[in-house]
């Protein structure tokens, strides 16, 4: 891991906790001795708008932003947002995809149409090598609090990386309010232990580099 950079892109909607989740990914990288950079946007962009955060781990990282076509892991908290940032994924990269759908207001008052699940999966499958599909909201809700959905997603992400899960748990417990520690731990473990469906995308695997 030390010799190459790992790029993450977290995508969600303002209010979904994208920035906190990406802080956790960044802190985990630092805690295992890697150089880390992270970039995000605040202010106007956060009010229910599309939100992304880039995180990069490596021996020495220059740009805090990932380049399009180079992201190893997209962590999408919402289906439309997975599609919106898909051009950042490298060929055969991995997408951790929550099945949550938040139609933007343009699809309510206007004529925009929210893509259906099959469309999203087909488009993501065109480039991804692997999709981890999960209903993070449902899993978190089942554990007692839907706000823990991001910990579920981070658990799923952690299963794909060669990092001690304790490093993840220690950062998560440090970053969330004390009263939510236990539930977040459970949510992370549920995500890590594979309450997801793995979709291998044959299109992308054939042209994987």
């Amino acid at each position: 891991m030390k010799n190459s950079t790992i790029n993450f892109l977290l995508a969600g909607v303002g209010g979904q906790g994208t920035l906190l989740a990406s802080d956790i990914v960044a802190e985990v990288g630092l805690s295992v001795g890697l150089d880390v950079k992270k970039s995000e946007v605040h202010g106007m962009a956060q009010r229910g708008g599309a939100v992304t955060s880039h995180v990069r781990w490596g021996e020495s990282v220059a740009s805090p932003l990932c380049e399009k076509g180079t992201v190893d892991y997209i962590i999408a908290q919402e289906m439309l947002e997975a599609l919106r940032w898909l051009d950042y994924l490298r060929p055969a990269g991995t997408v951790i995809l929550s099945t949550q759908q938040l139609p933007p207001t343009s699809t309510v008052f206007g004529s925009d149409v929210y893509p259906d699940k099959a469309q999203v999966l087909s488009a993501v499958g065109q480039i991804a090598g692997k999709i981890l599909l999960l209903d993070a909201l449902e899993i978190a809700g089942h554990l007692g609090n839907r706000r823990m959905a991001n910990s579920v997603l981070l658990g799923a992400l952690s299963s794909q990386l060669d990092v001690d899960p304790h490093a993840w748990l220690s950062v998560i417990e440090d970053k969330v309010p004390p009263k939510h520690k236990e539930n977040n731990r459970k949510a992370f473990v549920a995500g890590r232990e594979g309450k997801w469906e793995i979709l291998h995308a044959p299109n992308a695997l054939n042209k994987s580099t």
Binding site: P64, E67, K68, G69
Partner: protein
Amino acid sequence: MKVLMSGNEAIARGAWEAGVMVAMAYPGTPSTEILQNVALYEEIYAEWSANEKVALDTAIGAAYAGQRAMAAMKHVGLNVASESLFYASYTGVNAGLVVVTADDPGLHSSQNEQDNRHYARFAKVPMLEPADSQEAKDYVRRALELSETFDTPVLLRSTTRTAHAKSAVVLGDRQAVGKRPYVKNPPKYVMIPGYARLRHPVVEDRMLRLRHWAEQTDLNRVEWRDRSLGVITSGISYQYAREIFPTASILKLGMVWPLPDEKMREFSQQVERLIVIEELDPFIEESVRQLGIQVEGKSIFPLVDELLPEKVREAAVKAELLPGNGSHAAPAVGALPRRPPVLCAGCGHRDVFWVLRKLKVAVNSDIGCYALGVLPPLDSTDTIGCMGASIGVALGMRHAGLDKANVAVIGDSTFFHAGLPALATAIYNRTPLVLLVVDNRTTGMTGHQGNPASGETLSGVEGARIDIAGVSRAMGVQRVSEVEARDLAALEATLREALKSGETCVVVVNTVCVFVASYARQAYRIVTEDCNGCTLCFRIGCPSIFKSEVLDARSGRQKAWIDPASCVGCGLCYDVCARQAIEPGAEKVLA
């Protein structure tokens, strides 16, 4: 110990380590978190000022009095504070003064993407530009030392991608910096023409000495690699240069004004092809070209919008600086529904814009969350310029005989920032004006900071709350009304009367930002059998209202559905529904 810090957190830490005693700001993206983090260090007196000019004047006063000081603002905030920057350039400081300007290339949250490096040249003060959080922290101390050595304010420029990027920082201890004695010295600190005239040559001499210093400082460093390509760059562009041209030699400028002419010349002579990578204006490039050096910059890289790694690569491939690389081609996804930011569920601005839309008046709006009333479906704004511009523009439209009624809309924080002088102008000249001050008790868009109307201070000490209606009356407004945003009928009636009056009118619309105090009521729900999918409630643009899967039998249209998890129970949809198909009392789903 290494910790992960944003550029803004690092600047705050740098201020603490460098012994800063006094710091102030007006919130503005991407600078806001600087002062919020400074306020966590109890050794530093930190406050929100009513605007950036006041912030800078206050910091200047602290520096005159002998304590290291900092003022922080976004790029357009420095426009407001620019008059103060210019006199401070003449007077110099005493103790160190650093002025942080956080620029926003790409306009993530701004009305323009001006390049504030020009202010350094314009005001004849040095400017440092960090490229990551470590430098952001370290450069605060360097800026303060430079400020004291050369008796000048020093600008520290960040951009969105350094301010809001996190990287590892090695922490240091706080430096003990004694208070410098203040000595009354009118020829230095009193800028009447007779004295200011004498200060101008001092400033010019200072610039000459700074130019010499720029050649020597380690803030500007050369990284020698392959000499077939040389890159001059600074700030975040340096990181993109490292990423896209890993084998190129780089002259990395930590000080972007004044520029090290000789160093640039020497560098240029030792590389085969010379390029400048910089965001926005060709600031460095033009200076290099003025030296008679052949250089490329904006002929390759875009002038408009922020640079991104892929943009730098794409431009470089086009200019044959790099071979083409097919693996970076993006898959085609097609057009997707846009997801612009929207007013929050329960936001009182939605009530205001709903009524204004109904009245069909021209709306001169201002800077704040109410900019989210611009886009459809609310679509009820004619103009937005800068902080406080709503009132002046509204007055100008009246003087020009606009053929329909117009109203100015401003928020509580913006009213105190730049609204007061404009209101005074209207009152003084007896100009008809309908001014809506929408008081949501916070500075919303930047993340809910206190302001003179909320009375909440940065330090947490209870401040004074200035009453907007009271201020308006004291200034001489005869027609001052106060209405609740949720009372649509009263709001409409008050506005109609005000528009008819032909007087200078202030309507204070009381509401509370949903982040400050949430509604304790239950969520609303659609009575599905009564809803006919008329779309009226869709047109308030509430992010909690969706199209359901249930179709109306007659019209075939999708009926509405309210998400009980995100609905805060404001009741605007209930008010606008023509069929009483919305009712309160849905079980609130705990998020």
